[in-house]
Symmetry: C2
DNA sequence: CCTGGTCATTTGTCCGTATAAACTTTTGAC
DNA sequence: GTCAAAAGTTTATACGGACAAATGACCAGG
């Protein structure tokens, strides 16, 4: 077993926390039940309330218990869920385009979602969206990295007016201009044949391998307000991500 | 601005924390500097040490400061970093194969890493690895989902003997058999042309679009002990992932 | 049956104090 | 100047006490 916890100096409250963790793991307090009250623990451990509370805070941080005034400490898990997390500081970092790349605006217009597009945008057919098409480039002269389609709710069409050399992600511009924040996002990655419509622009053969990434941005109340579809020719883009073993991230 | 913090009852320590947050944001205490000591804050706020410490704990939880005995509270950020996190309970969940899919063992043998393979495995050329080749299937009769190459350190070659119908990820089998735990993992996704060697087996044309996923598993001390390469024909596999807005996950 | 109020219980907040441990700075020997 | 010991500062841990707020159990009245 790997010990990925730093060595901790022994202390009263850590001992108490460890004891309680063990007892919880061994089933002395099943899920849904209550831990002894602070007063009881003070007596059991001959410790002050402060010390007991510090111990219980550890269990709370580990996601083992929830504490409520008037009720007590409810067991909600028998062991700290170990999981792997991938985190980024912003969703712009999510697809790691270097800062050196930029969007080269090709066209923008209002569209109506029907058929497959409505499915892509997960909306009812007939809904209006605003579409921005651009080319993702690293360098003016090199082959483009990919083709970008950005669908935003019509009310956010104003973002297209901002000229920032296409370096800021659109959802961040929307956040700045309209106060729309992203609470949740989703990504899909798959391979497909390069559509003929894009092949010439991207300087590859139609039907050649392409990587397509669909990103969906949701605001509060699960409202989908932006979808981007990027298509990259073979060899010009690799998605990569790291995951780290860690304890329960804050939810 | 969306208010995604729950409404908090006013309390002394929250007020103090809010005041300090504001002062930090406004640059009164630049990054790298120290916050006033607990004793100073007690005087400034006419509060007890307990209350001041509770306030500082909030800032610590938000990732604004680090506290060290003998030094003080060091400012490490001017505002709480908003993060987006993706977490899975196990790395098997990372690529969401349905439980209905399984690996169909094709071959396994010892190999020596040279040239491009050494680069893929990030090791010095000449190192010995054990290779397991398999086909990922959902159904015995349908077209296979993809081709799987699993490279493990030679000392873990024993995993191939376990017959579990290829449903358990190999790194989990290694963890169970040898106690090797995964502390860190990395993934790369890209599109490429289907190699001729795999095309027939996967029942597609050579050169057709393929999605390739490389996953690297690291144990303690950064040791790379397993690499898997999966290659999927167009339309048979889509990688998807969700990210959630959250405050600073535990590091 | 349901509503509203009372009460005991339990955690939340806040105050006071003391000692230990971690860290920086100063001092002093060489 | 260098190194190590000593001194000083700051947070960590721990004890004591008090009142407030939230919750569930219980009971009276409709």
């Amino acid at each position: 077993m790997a010990d990925n916890t730093r060595k901790q100096k022994p202390s009263r409250y850590r001992d108490i926390a460890a004891r309680l963790q063990k007892e919880i793991r061994l089933g002395k307090y099943p899920i849904g039940n209550l831990l002894p009250t602070e007063t009881e623990l003070m007596a059991q451990c001959s410790a002050s309330r402060q010390t007991v509370r510090e111990a219980l805070r550890i269990l709370m941080d580990q996601g083992l218990i929830v504490r409520r005034a008037g009720l007590g400490s409810v067991i909600i898990a028998t062991e700290p869920p170990v999981l792997f997390t991938h985190s980024v500081k912003s969703l712009g970092e999510w697809l790691r385009y270097s800062n050196e790349t930029y969007r080269d605006l090709v066209d923008s217009r209002e569209i109506t979602a029907t058929g497959k597009l409505a499915a892509l945008l997960k909306c009812e057919p007939g809904k209006h969206w605003f579409l921005i098409e651009a080319i993702r480039r690293a360098d003016q002269f090199a082959d483009p990295l990919g083709w970008v389609e950005i669908y935003v709710l019509r009310k956010f069409a104003g973002v297209v007016k901002r000229s920032d050399h296409g370096r800021t992600p659109v959802h961040e511009q929307i956040a700045k201009m309209f106060g729309q924040t992203t609470e949740y996002a989703q990504m899909e990655i798959f391979a497909r044949a390069m559509p003929a419509a894009l092949a010439r622009t991207l300087r590859v053969k139609p039907g050649s391998p392409a990587l397509t990434v669909v990103r969906r941005y949701y605001g509060v109340r699960e409202e989908l307000f932006e979808v981007t579809v990027t298509t990259h020719p073979e060899g010009r883009y690799t998605y990569s991500m790291d995951m780290q073993r860690s304890l329960r991230p804050r939810v």
